[in-house]
Subunit: 153 residues, 2 copies
DNA sequence: GACGTGAGTTCCTTAAGGGAACCCTGACTT
DNA sequence: AAGTCAGGGTTCCCTTAAGGAACTCACGTC
């Protein structure tokens, strides 16, 4: 299987997919987020092939999403989220919300979030960073930005 | 290549990935969202193989994310977002935000959102649907929910 | 009756994921 | 000093998915 790289597209969605769009990558980030930082833990928890896990971790480190750092005198390493990676967790939180709403079924959500600020069980909601009102698919117009394909510089 | 299905995992992120985690699927949704509803349009815009496009569209229709409907007496069909699919656009909006921030470089974002409510160029922000305060990776604790693996019905 | 068009199929090639076995490095044990 | 252990990967083979080009099919139009 060849796979087309999306990174050439003038689209932030495509570019983001080039960083975490491969199978397993989001689940690896999820696990690292909740404290599974080591190769063996990730492999065991996900049931992913060791080969693919190696490839994914290397890619995520190259992209600056994870940092690989030693935790022992022996050659032992753990993976932690960088700032760039931590901001990707936003994505996972939104995915969780959608999955909870549309795929969890009778049983309900497997995991709940308790929000520190209010102490309540809650989910994320998308709002405008300018006016604070809800901002979803139907609430926006799309305009070409400075980085649109073909614009100078 | 075999591919492990994530749908058995008690995790809303994994389940969501089973719906739109395959390569191209998010880009197909993006295109449909902005009004590219037909097979030929999608194929030409994305440069995706026709075979894979067929597979993806069928899968998205099966999952209830897209609806396939005729628009002519001839066998012509177009694909439109269902409600379930429209809610997935949330995810794309967050991806766009992250890509803009971390991958757009000097050129800046290729696309901008203008928010209907305030008329300004803006981006999405994650907030708590309970108290309205910001809610991101570091702002939550994770608790087991009713649908956690092993809990009775 | 030939032609055009949108929407797919078919078929072949290439490469990515799965999985099991193997390797390497540095401690620990005896 | 030799053997063992553990974490963190490599290697290798097999299967299957993605790319890509060519083909098909149903319906309208000229």
């Amino acid at each position: 299987m060849q796979r087309t790289s999306f990174s050439g597209m003038a689209c932030s969605i495509a570019r983001t997919l080039d960083v975490i769009g491969e199978p397993w990558s989001p689940l690896i980030l999820r696990d690292v987020w909740v404290g599974m930082n080591r190769f063996e833990q990730l492999q065991a928890d996900l049931g992913i092939s060791r080969k693919v896990l190696t490839e994914r971790l290397n890619h995520l480190v190259e992209q600056g999403v994870l940092e690989r750092r030693p935790y022992d005198q022996r050659p032992r390493y753990e993976y932690v989220l960088t700032v760039k990676g931590t901001e990707l967790i936003d994505l996972l939180m939104v995915m969780k919300g959608w999955g909870d709403r549309w795929l969890a079924g009778e049983a309900g959500p497997p995991v709940l979030y308790r929000h520190h600020a209010c102490g309540e069980i809650a989910d994320v909601e998308l709002r405008c960073d300018h006016c604070g009102e809800p901002m979803r698919a139907g609430d926006v117009d799309l305009l070409p930005g400075p980085g649109v394909a073909g614009s100078a510089t």
